[in-house]
């Protein structure tokens, strides 16, 4: 089973989301970066699939050279190799991101391609769909359960997702793609041997000059936050009567 997982390097801001002076990016000078949480589950799933069915798991990131850090994290979790599609620092629109991924995949055949349903920072909700279409494989998004069936001819995958009124399960012939959501599994923390392996792992760098798509980011801005300071009801257990007064007043206690 050859599995490809596409991951994105995203900033991990704390309570505030600082912007650069020109207001076009999050100012990440004092922030860490991480793999998008949906994609972290995709990596975990790929590692489990390879353990159960053999084959190998490749992680791919479109981004700046620094996305090397996220690829090595995924390798430390158990992925076999990394591909970095180096497009420089600027954020790509979803059409360009999808074109970059499809370019890097080229003729390589993967049985299963995994994405996050949407990226944690830009939330475009479409890159996986565009890539799947370019590769000519079916895709379903919002996936929180995945089961491979290798007993049938070319193999098939069952994909489970939550919808407004329940659960739907799809069956797709392989090769196929899925856009997954956090909750699919509980991703492991990389082990010490995993980290050592990742340090030495080779990352293939694919240079790529993107063509911009039709959606152009102009600038970012903070949403209004016109909340007033909290009313402090008290300290410790002594606050309980004041709390229950408020709960009664807002109608959550009869």
């Amino acid at each position: 089973m050859e599995v490809l997982v596409c991951v994105k390097r995203v900033p991990a801001p704390g309570a505030k989301v600082p912007l650069t002076d020109d207001q076009t990016e999050i100012d990440t000078r004092y922030l860490g970066h991480t793999i998008g949480p949906h994609e972290e589950c995709a990596v975990e799933e790929a590692v489990r699939i390879v353990k159960a069915h053999g084959g190998s798991a490749t992680v791919l990131a479109v981004g700046p050279a620094a996305a090397d850090e996220q690829l090595r994290y995924a390798i430390a979790m158990g992925a076999d190799r990394g591909v970095l599609v180096d497009v420089g620092d600027a954020e790509l629109d979803p059409e360009a991101t999808a074109a970059a991924i499809s370019h890097a995949v080229g003729d390589t055949r993967y049985d299963l391609v995994l994405f996050g349903t949407e990226s944690a920072d830009a939330s475009h909700y479409q890159v996986g769909i565009r890539v799947a279409s370019a590769l000519g494989v079916p895709i379903v998004g919002g996936i929180k359960g995945l089961e491979l069936d290798t007993a049938v001819d070319d193999g098939a995958v069952s994909l489970r997702r939550e919808v407004a009124d329940g659960v739907e399960v799809y069956r797709l012939p392989l090769p196929a793609a899925a856009a997954v959501k956090e909750g699919l599994n509980l991703p492991r923390y990389p082990s010490m041997p995993g980290r050592l392996k990742a340090k030495k792992a080779r990352i293939d760098v694919v240079p790529y000059t993107p063509e911009p798509g039709g959606l152009r980011k102009v600038r970012l801005r903070q949403p209004n936050d016109d909340r007033e300071e909290a009313i402090v009801l008290g300290h410790g257990a002594d606050a309980a009567p004041a709390v229950v007064d408020v709960l009664t007043q807002i109608g959550v206690i009869a």
């Binding site: 309570a15 895709i139 739907e168 012939p173 959606l215 970012l220 949403p223 807002i250």
Partner: protein
């Protein structure tokens, strides 16, 4: 003309009003359903109803294909869709097949060349101003927008059935189960939510006790999920569930942006935290400074003693 893609959620009517406020004639499309009498009252004279027996049993790719065939036929200047997961996915498939850009989660829209948009990123962490250049502008509209209905009522709304040929039929539904009637994070009027400050899986017992008394459910932060203290279905936030209860009681949760965007639209937010400087304490309506395991048992006790008298 602007085509609005509607479903049967209340948010669909907001999207319709929002589209009408852009000052162009508006038509509607649904994947089955839609009430022509109601739409006539809202000034919509045409409802395209995509009907195909098979649609519901195929993946959103098929819905996207059907939608694109309709777009090619009625040639709108723009398509504004509700932002449910299912419709967003269908829009993304339509955009992909048509090789058109798609702007998701828009909250402000000005038509023109290019279209000027503001879209929501990171579940509400930031707003992005963007330009969309395309033959047909494809947009999904974030929840919570509103607009003034631009058109007065019309005498009637004509229903045009549309049944396209489908080729995107590789992914098929093989099983469907409906949800039980139990309360969920998304519907609960009260959520008692716990983070790292709760300290352990067992520590949630007192949150359960309080939630029971308030007719609510227990939620959690990502730290709790990652530690295996709570299932992911309890997680509130960017990659968990977005919640809008009457009361959100955040216990031992610091209030990182990724958590905040999941609870910020709650009616009342109350924080219990040992740190008076925690972001969630500052942004809440009410706060109690103290240890979860001292404050919560005292609240439970106070409720019980008052209900006895």
């Amino acid at each position: 003309m602007i085509l609005t893609v509607l479903d049967d959620s209340p948010a669909a009517l907001d999207v319709l009003a929002f589209a009408q406020s852009l000052g162009q004639p508006v038509e509607a499309v649904t994947f089955g359903g839609g009430d022509p009498d109601d739409l006539a009252k809202r000034g919509v004279s045409t409802l395209h109803r995509i009907t195909s027996d098979e649609l519901a049993d195929y993946a959103p790719a098929a819905s996207g294909e059907a939608l694109l065939r309709l777009i090619e036929q009625v040639r709108p200047d723009g398509v504004l869709a509700v932002s449910s997961d299912r419709v967003t996915e269908a829009m993304a498939h339509a955009a992909t097949l048509a090789r058109l850009p798609l702007a998701t989660n828009c909250v402000e829209v000005t038509t023109g060349d290019p279209w000027l948009l503001t879209r929501v990123r990171g579940g509400g962490m930031l707003l992005e101003e963007a330009e969309l250049t395309a033959d047909v502008a494809l947009l999904t509209i974030a929840q919570g927008v509103s607009g003034e209905i631009g058109a007065g009522p019309v005498a009637s709304c004509e229903v045009r059935e549309f049944t396209p040929e489908l080729t995107a039929t590789q992914a098929r539904v093989v099983e469907r189960t409906s949800r039980g009637s139990g309360m969920t994070l998304a519907t609960a009027p009260v959520i008692v939510s716990g983070g790292r400050g709760v300290g352990s899986a067992d520590g949630y017992a007192v949150l359960e006790e309080l939630a029971k008394r308030l007719g609510g459910v227990v939620g959690c932060s990502r730290v709790a999920t990652n530690n295996g203290w709570r299932p992911h279905s309890d997680q509130v936030g960017l990659t968990g569930t977005k919640v809008t209860p009457e009361l959100y009681l955040a216990c031992g949760i610091s209030g990182a942006t990724q958590h905040w965007v999941g609870c910020m639209d709650s009616k009342v937010i109350m924080a219990v935290n040992t740190d008076p400087e925690a972001p969630l304490v500052r942004r809440a309506n009410y706060a109690v400074i103290g240890d979860v395991h001292e404050v919560l048992p005292a609240i439970v006790k106070e409720i019980d003693s008052r209900s006895k008298t």
